[in-house]
């Protein structure tokens, strides 16, 4: 399409189709192809992990693994029932600590004084905490709880996990509270509500799906954490509740630490169990993740 040639009727109507062999267009097409390939390569690890878990971990999945205690090296069979209980207990303690604090802090950040100096500082701290290496949460809980009480325990692990859950809970809850329409709040103020009443009766119920999304994401993350548990919960080969008594102040098992311990073992039985434990752990984590997603979809 050069300008020197006399224009025919056909050329007067502009050619909107770009020639595919033109270098610029060709490059664009090639890069589009390349980006597809990159995207597919980036998806391979997820499927490889899931394939490994299902194929190698799936065949040991039975009722036995949920009810038995971890086997020693030479033993056959066994399971990781106590580790599942341990994961639930430690994450539960973490949730009990972090959720009330997190939601109350989010109320302050999102609703009471969103633009105050303190809110900026707290928000900045929360954002910084999101990037805190999980091992340092463990070091912190070790210094604060383990050294003080003199023993590895479930509460120590709970403190470490709470520290990791807190920023997720705060930041998502704050975001959810900001989406509550001002009109709804103004209507409540017009009825003579105090700010707290507005928060309890309007803001929290309306923002609840978003708040729960954050909580579920935090729980999912905490359930998979290993590093903070290594030297706060340690590990235990026994049940958390034995003889009708909960052993709160003694080492406690967890799925993730079990996987870590068994991954380095030379015995096939333990390695197989580690695959099965990974499968169970990933299913737990994905369950909470999907729950978060379903809750988050119901937008105001």
């Amino acid at each position: 399409m050069s300008a020197q040639e006399p224009l025919t009727n056909h050329e007067l109507s502009p050619d909107l189709q770009r020639s595919l062999v033109e270098p610029r267009a060709l490059l664009s097409t090639m890069l589009s192809g390349a980006v597809w390939i990159v995207a597919i390569i980036a998806s391979v690890p997820l499927f490889s992990v899931l394939y490994g878990l299902i194929v190698r971990g799936g065949h040991r999945l039975s009722l036995e693994v949920f009810t038995e205690l971890p086997p020693a090296g030479f033993e056959e069979g066994g399971g990781f029932g106590n580790a599942i209980v341990g994961t639930l207990v430690t994450v539960g303690i973490g949730a009990i600590i972090s959720i009330p604090f997190g939601i109350l802090a989010a109320i302050f950040l999102g609703e009471l004084e969103p633009n105050g100096k303190m809110a900026y500082a707290a928000r900045f701290c929360a954002k910084t905490l999101t990037g805190l290496p999980s091992i340092l949460a463990g070091v912190f809980a070790y210094a604060l709880v383990v050294l003080t009480t003199g023993t590895y325990s479930a509460p120590a692990a709970g403190v470490a996990l709470a520290l990791l859950m807190l920023p997720t809970v705060v930041l998502t809850a704050e975001e959810a509270m900001r989406t509550v329409p001002v009109n709804m709040k103004n209507a409540a103020y017009g009825m003579g509500c105090t700010r707290s009443q507005v928060i309890w009766k309007i803001v929290l119920p309306t923002a609840l799906p978003g708040v729960l999304t954050g909580v579920m994401l935090a729980v999912a993350r905490a359930a998979g954490e290993t590093a903070p548990l290594l030297f706060t919960a340690l590990f235990s080969n026994y049940w958390f509740v034995e003889g009708g008594r909960a052993k709160l102040m003694s080492p406690i098992a967890s799925l993730s630490v079990l996987i870590y311990n068994f991954s380095g073992m030379p015995y096939d039985n333990q390695i197989e169990l580690a695959w099965t434990a990974s499968l169970v752990l990933v299913m737990m984590v994905l369950f909470f993740n999907i729950l978060a997603r379903v809750l988050g979809r119901k937008k105001v």
Binding site: E225, T226, L286
Partner: protein, 323 residues
């Protein structure tokens, strides 16, 4: 009782807050403020606890701790230079790989390459990558990634052994498998934050580029990426911060040997892995030293994360104000 009945029976449906309401209001707001302050307190306490417990070791080893190369409990000599090197080296490698894939993924998901439904599939894949626990990645790395990269590593070593990067053989765990797994782990962070940055670019800028006759990739490379560059840089910094602090996958894959090597295939160590491996069995003398190492890791990651957070805040405010 509905509003009509209330109105007709003379009872009020609304009214001024009572004394109790005021009291409850003030105490509840106070409580919320205390909880917000608690977050700040936690960060201060974190620095204080780790810093305070590290003081004996700081007094004894000073800054020589940062440049020492041996870690021997029996001789009481401690140095973390190999760990600092390993942390930075593995993170930079992971950032190169994960950054490339993460940013490409963000372009792929935001620049209309896919119908909405397929975009959701890929977005979910990226998000699920972030959901898998790091210990599972480490375990998968031992049994899948290492056997997979070992023949490639050995071939590279045999053919190109003269280049420092390939100067040793891969005898199991090593820097390359660790960095690969680390790259997978930071990819979701980089992809998610870069997507936000690309979405914040006003649509009319893109339209203007197309209107001038630019091809899709000319638009992406010369208009979209430069406009979103600060946000993408922030994404890389945050991803780097993640990589620095990642523990389990590295503790399982990096080999845990104190050496300084440029080779991609030699085993190494990182600060986080050092803490994970030595803390559970640490004696009275070793704990302050480990706290010192933890403090170093804390300061590095805090600095990197604060930088990333600040960049993100700056970009979102400048985009909102329309610059």
């Amino acid at each position: 009782m509905n509003a009509f009945e209330e109105a007709t029976t003379g009872e009020q449906i609304s009214g001024p807050p009572s004394q109790t309401d005021f009291l409850l209001d003030i105490s509840f707001r106070g409580l919320a403020k205390v909880c917000a302050g608690f977050i700040i307190l936690v960060v201060v306490l974190l620095l204080w606890e780790i810093g305070y417990k590290a003081i004996p070791a700081i007094r004894e080893y000073h800054l020589g701790f940062l440049t020492g190369t041996t870690w021997d409990v029996n001789k009481q000599t401690f140095g973390i230079l190999p760990e600092i090197w390993g942390t930075l080296y593995s993170s930079i490698l992971a950032l190169c790989i994960g950054g490339f894939f993460g940013i490409t993924m963000a372009i792929f998901l935001t620049q209309d390459f896919l119908p909405a439904r397929f975009a959701l599939v890929f977005r979910t894949i990226v998000e699920l990558l972030a959901a898998i626990p790091s210990v599972v990645y480490g375990f998968w790395g031992i049994y899948v990634v290492i056997p997979f990269v070992r023949p490639i590593a050995d071939w590279l070593n045999a053919e190109l052994g003269g280049i420092p990067f390939f100067s040793t053989t891969l005898s199991g765990p090593g820097m390359l498998p660790a960095a690969l797994v680390l790259a997978i782990m930071i990819l979701p962070t980089i992809a998610a934050v870069s997507q936000d940055a690309l979405r914040q670019v006003p649509y009319r800028i893109k339209e203007a580029a197309f209107g001038l006759g630019a091809t899709r990739w000319e638009t992406i490379l010369k208009v979209m990426l430069p406009t979103a560059s600060t946000g993408i840089f922030g994404a890389l910094v945050l991803g780097f911060g993640r990589a620095l602090g990642e523990t389990m996958a590295l503790a399982m894959l990096v080999g845990n040997s104190n050496q300084l090597s440029l080779s991609l295939f030699s085993p190494g160590n990182t600060l986080a892995a050092l803490l994970a491996l030595n803390f559970p069995e640490a004696g009275e003398r070793e704990i302050p030293v480990l706290m010192y190492a933890a403090l170093v890791l804390l300061l590095i990651t805090l600095a990197v994360n604060m930088l990333g957070t600040t960049i993100m805040t700056l970009t979102s405010t400048s985009m909102r104000s329309g610059k």
